[in-house]
């Protein structure tokens, strides 16, 4: 543990072309205990990466092993498991990057003697979302329905490879962070895009429970995990849950109910709803974060409510007429309890 927290750590961060990876890598490079940070991705980063050394490499090919060996990397932070194809191309490329990429990365890690720690950002989507779910998933629970395709399936595969790696290299501390949906003013994710719409579609007759992790807490937990080096799998989420209708009301969004069988077929202004997001918007999900506090020792600064409030400041209200009318009426009445 002492050598892990001591000076001169060398980090390898995957997925730096995306905002999350880039920001994390840049912040890590500024840390006094970190000697250097190497960022890896298939595409160059979109913004400033500060003192991070960028290596344009595809983690799907063995070049990555050479980088790890040559730079004497002691910590790998794997952030390139992606939820949306984005600029990388179609779904098949995304799957390849996620699954084959992780396999190659772990194969490279397996033979690296300098390696001490691996941190993988996973997601609570591995639990799926269905009517048969328990209210709060703990880390030891399995999804009620194993996802057969899509991002959720990728993540399940990635996690199983990571578990295999942890068994083969017991000397490496492997931390898997199952993060709830990330929300924040700068976040660009399917669910953030969903709530940024001026008219938010919801599934008719369902009001799912949602849990959010503020983007700052995401950086916070990654940094904490790298520093603490606690092996294991942890749910990471802000405290409390909000229902979809509460979030929409707090963001002052108008909602349009769409029947569930039609929801999947409809395209909303070009926006797509992947299967795992549709399931989430129908049945919702909650995760238990007891282990995050007691074992990992991480305390998020934002609750789910705080995350939504912070996000609300960045979106323009589209439906607040009812509230304005009531507020006007209230101010006219005397004796209004304040």
């Amino acid at each position: 543990m002492a050598e892990r927290t001591g000076p001169g750590r060398v980090l390898l961060v995957t997925g730096v072309s995306r905002d999350l990876g880039r920001r994390f890598a840049r912040a890590a490079a500024r840390h006094p205990n970190v000697e250097r940070v190497i960022g890896v991705d298939v595409a160059p980063p979109r913004g400033d990466i500060g003192q991070v050394g960028f290596v344009r490499a595809d983690i799907r090919n063995p070049v990555i092993a050479k980088v790890i060996a040559k730079e004497e990397v002691d910590t790998v932070v794997h952030l390139s498991v992606i939820a949306t194809p984005g600029t990388t191309g179609g779904r098949s490329t995304m799957k390849e990057l996620n699954v084959i990429g992780t396999m190659q990365l772990l194969a490279a890690c397996q033979t690296a003697p300098s390696l001490r720690q691996v941190v993988v950002k996973s997601t609570t989507q591995v639990y799926g979302a269905s009517s048969r779910d328990p209210a709060m998933f703990t880390e030891s629970m399995e999804p009620r329905r194993t996802p057969s395709s899509g991002y959720a399936r990728d993540v399940a595969d990635v996690e199983s490879y990571v578990r295999g790696f942890a068994r083969r290299r017991p000397d490496v501390a492997v931390t898997v962070l199952r993060c709830a949906n990330v929300l924040g003013p700068r976040v660009d994710s399917p669910i953030a895009a969903h709530f940024r719409r001026s008219v938010v579609p919801n599934v008719l007759g369902y009001d799912p429970r949602l849990q959010f992790l503020h983007e700052q807490d995401l950086y916070g937990v990654l940094e904490h995990a790298v520093r603490a080096g606690v092996p294991g799998t942890f749910n990471v989420a802000g405290d409390g849950v909000l229902t979809h209708s509460q979030v929409a009301r707090r963001l002052q969004r108008m909602t349009v109910p769409i029947p569930e069988p039609v929801f999947g077929l409809t395209r909303f202004g070009g926006g797509e709803y992947p299967a795992e997001l549709r399931a989430l918007l129908t049945y919702g999900r909650g995760v238990d974060t007891t282990r995050m506090r007691s074992l990992l020792g991480f305390e998020p600064r934002f609750t789910t409510e705080d995350a939504v409030r912070d996000f609300a400041d960045s979106v323009k209200p589209s439906a607040n007429r009812a509230d304005r009318a009531l507020a006007a009426l209230e101010s006219r009445l005397t004796g209004a309890p304040r």
Binding site: R132, A135, G205, Y206, T243, Q246, R250
Partner: protein
């Protein structure tokens, strides 16, 4: 309505010529004020202001739900308020043995199930809330949560899925949990089998109580069997629709929506003496023999109480 009224009927558009257009704003205000007095009484301003605060809180989403999705405010101010007259005036529910429910800490209420739709669960919720001030957290089948609207209302009213994870989580947090182990076999049984307890599942509720060491309170409900006497079933259509049964009662579907009005039977509900589980070790929850025995004990207690209550009830509609 706060817009100033048009000075005269000189407009040329249909909007200008609207009949309400000519009514001055002051008249509107006066009319509203007298209406408010009518509804809220002499203290109308304060009452209305308080109501508006409530309404604004709901509209802006500034209320909270717990991790199971329980909306306490909505349940107490709306759902229970709607159910209360049904409990008191329609079914004239008589509650006995309320002192058998602990006033705080976790406890598991185990009840018989009947009545084609789970009205007995709703009446139990109102009764416990009104007599004891505690919220009953019902455990429901996954079909409930698969259905739109029904599942959402169930969660907002405090229900969660009947699985050992949720049951034990709630019991550990000191909630009062309600379970109906007969499930659909209970509410969907024909009228000829009324007050005959069905199989009690696999006794999962007993394991949960043993593991968490909470008392089991047996509850016997008399009266719910007669609200929708189930005389027939359409299994083929039920299968197509994916529901456990499709009821035919003497009035439904014969009278259409009118047939949905429950018969005003007289209800007696009695909470029995709690069965303590804290004497057992938590590991004994995995002992099938013990689980069977406790399940049987609970089932027998409820069955015997049902027979006794039936004898005490003057008549079905007494």
């Amino acid at each position: 309505m706060t817009e100033s009224a048009a000075p005269g009927i000189t407009g040329t558009t249909t909007r200008d010529r609207h009949p309400l257009r000519a009514i001055p704003a002051a008249d509107w205000a006066a009319a509203l004020e007298s209406a408010a007095k009518e509804v809220f009484g002499a203290e109308w301003e304060e009452q209305l202001a308080r109501f508006i605060v409530f309404l604004r809180r709901r509209i802006s989403g500034q209320y909270s739900v717990d991790e199971y999705g329980f909306d306490r405010e909505l349940t107490q101010r709306f759902m229970l308020a709607v159910l209360r007259p049904i409990k008191e005036k329609w079914f004239r529910v008589e509650v006995r043995g309320i002192e058998n429910i602990p006033t705080d800490g976790g406890a598991l209420i185990v009840s018989n199930h009947s009545g084609t739709i789970p009205m007995d669960g709703l009446m139990t919720m109102v009764s416990i809330h009104d007599e004891l001030g505690r919220d009953l957290r019902p455990l429901g089948a996954d079909l409930v949560f698969r259905m739109p609207i029904v599942g959402t209302i169930a969660r907002k009213a405090g229900a969660t899925l009947a699985c050992s994870e949720d049951a034990e989580r709630m019991l550990r947090n000191g909630e009062l949990v309600g379970v109906w182990p007969e499930g659909f076999k209970g509410i969907g049984k024909p009228y000829s089998e009324r007050y005959k307890l069905q199989r009690f599942g696999r006794g999962g509720f007993v394991s949960s109580a043993l593991r968490t060491g909470v008392p089991i309170v047996p509850l016997s409900v008399v009266g719910a069997e007669e609200i929708y006497p189930l005389v027939g079933n359409i299994p083929a259509l039920a299968k197509v629709l994916g529901v456990p049964y499709l009821p035919i009662t003497p009035f439904f579907p014969l009278l259409g929506p009118l047939g949905l009005i429950p018969l005003p039977s007289k209800w007696l509900i009695e909470f029995g003496e709690p069965i303590r589980t804290d004497a057992y070790d938590a590991t004994e929850a995995d002992d099938p023999m013990l689980v069977f025995n406790v399940t049987d004990q609970v089932r027998e207690t409820i069955q015997q109480t049902l027979y006794r209550l039936l004898g005490e009830r003057a008549s079905v509609f007494g």
